[in-house]
Symmetry: C2
Subunit: 343 residues, 2 copies
DNA sequence: CCATTTTGTGGGAGCGTTCCCATAAAATGG
DNA sequence: CCATTTTATGGGAACGCTCCCACAAAATGG
């Protein structure tokens, strides 16, 4: 019930030695006599001594903490990335400070400030869909605090990035639709502000071009990733005089919404319209029909990002180069684009 | 590119005043002349000054941080609880330190130590399914660090708890199955070590009793919540000489597994066997058939838990009482227990 | 056996704040 | 106009730790 926390000074006093010796024993410095060390360690254990990281960090001018700023927390994608990052961080004794921006620019700015105030040694960032201005992140650069972008990256700031090959993934997805005989393939794209939107759009277009298909503007829709709006656009596409016979959606939640609307209209999937998503969310294998999608190595993204960040932290500034790691995607074919053998 | 962080001393020197005055201006102390204050604030802004929380916290002996220990991160339940907690914490300027135990006791112990070392002002805990020993949590009590349990609670430690009415939820779920005419209702339960398992089991039994049904031991199976094992037990139930005509599962992931197996066997749902889950995960509305389940106010759990914790932090020890908040559940009926009008 | 190296320990500054106490200057009052 | 209060500021200790420097005692060597 004592509010007072046990400090090295308490241990020192009880053993009639100096705090310096206690500190050395506790940090494993070699020059402490064996029985002194033993006595200190025993007493520390007995008193439930826990080093005060606040003090250690202040003293060493580093927090042994890395910050993670993600846009949201609801789909399983980001939690799993965090899992991977945490795994790597924990291995080298780093703690992770997580904040989610709720897809709001203002919150992201506030979160960046919290990270700064807490003196994180580095920060992993994935942007909100709103973020257009990067001043709040440039501060990290100015203060020489290592930063790594992942997933929702920004090319205005020259730091390492971890992404998947969005272009190739979109290309594979579109080509797959072509292979199964689709002719009018629509694309529900993300906002052009996001790099991943642009890359996926490019992959889609290039696949069409490669196979000699025209690029039909009315079949390409960019939207802000708010699923409520997705519904409107899917309906718009279905109501076209000449509706598409396939839809490639920027991500799985969007594809899922499409699937629900298409099912409600009792159109046959994949015959009348096939659907492909991107990212292989947990749900995508469970729904009916199963959603064909591009799988990303989610946890690996977290691991690689954390590794890159730690390297940067442990390297003299200016020695490292802002590499961009591009991880591979995989096409997962399910019933939303081919008939299952069960039917 | 300067590694040196801006401190109040830097500001003081540039303006030829003392650090005390700068500190006062920055913290909004009244006795600072208006133009001095203005000059300080302007320069602070211009220099990108960020208060060093490490120093502030050390000085004030409180970290303005609350820790959250959750067993896992993969289902959407815990991320959403965290969302609620974060919302409340942020309102009063608290930061949140999150750690997940990967359903492993050892990791939970390690996480508790991290929280202690980082001098969190309080901690929100939900146990792993393995946790049987609570010494690592008793430390918080001994050090008078406020703690609140939620969801996976422990009654060996006398602190506030936030749970849902598991008993009533299970009762409603079971009674619903009885109402639709089911006679042999199985229950796939969790490990008896978890309070929620015991309560849900009780609710199940009492509903049966109320309606004069026998409690058939072979239809009640406790398992460790590892979904792989769930599959075995579901198959076992279906292979009984007299198989159940309904299944109430401890949680949605379990119910989902059951649904998949039942569908693979081409049994009709809900006619041959109805299924009910618990917690209304995001997927449960998307799969086919939709899963009947007991909804929990997930985000609210996080909010209430954080509120309780903050109250405790801001109260003289021994004034507060270890209340247990019991939130209400809601029965969500879907096609896994009744025919939808579409069929 | 005395000079030199090694070993173990203590003392103090510093990390960036806050907060109390002191003090000079300004304002107030009789 | 001088004593008293108020206002604005400075100085220093404290928070708990690390790390450098100093120094006594012990070990080593020629």
């Amino acid at each position: 019930m004592k509010r007072h926390q046990v400090t090295i000074f308490d241990i020192a006093r009880q053993l009639n030695i100096s705090k310096s010796t206690v500190s050395r024993a506790l940090t494993g410095h070699p020059s402490v006599k064996e029985n002194t060390r033993r006595a200190i360690l025993d007493l520390a254990q007995q008193l439930d001594y826990q080093p005060n990281m606040l003090a250690i960090n202040l003293s060493s001018s580093q927090s042994k903490t890395i910050g993670i700023i993600v846009p949201e927390f609801v789909t399983s994608f980001f939690p799993i990335v965090i899992l991977g990052a945490q795994e790597i961080a924990a291995q080298v004794g780093y703690t992770v400070l997580i904040s989610q921006s709720n897809e709001q620019y203002e919150t992201e700015v506030a979160n960046a400030r919290v990270m700064l105030a807490n003196r994180v040694d580095g920060v992993l960032v994935s942007l909100t869909r709103e973020t257009q201005n990067f001043d709040h992140l440039a501060v990290f650069q100015r203060k020489a605090i290592p930063m790594v972008f992942f997933n929702r990256v920004c090319y205005d700031i020259d730091v390492p990035k971890v992404i998947v090959d969005d272009y190739e993934g979109a290309f594979k997805a579109t080509e797959h639709l072509i292979h199964i005989g689709k002719k009018r393939i629509a694309h529900l794209a993300g906002p052009p502000s996001l790099y991943i939107s642009r890359k996926r759009l490019e992959g889609y277009k290039d696949a069409l071009r490669k196979h000699g298909f025209p690029i039909i503007d009315e079949l390409i829709i960019s939207y802000d990733l708010n699923v409520e709006r997705a519904k409107i656009y899917v309906k718009y596409l279905l109501d076209l005089p000449e509706p598409p016979d396939a839809l490639f959606a920027i991500n799985d939640p969007t594809a899922l919404e499409a699937l629900l609307i298409i099912k409600a209209r009792r159109l046959s999937i994949p015959d009348q319209i096939a659907v492909v998503g991107f990212s292989n969310d947990y749900v995508s294998s469970l729904i009916e029909p199963g959603l064909t999608t591009i799988a990303q190595p989610t946890r690996e993204i977290g691991r690689v990002a954390a590794q890159l960040l730690l390297e940067q932290i442990n390297t003299e500034a200016s020695t490292w180069k802002p590499v961009t790691k591009v991880l591979k995607t995989e096409l997962i074919i399910r019933e939303s684009s081919v008939r299952s053998c069960l039917d």
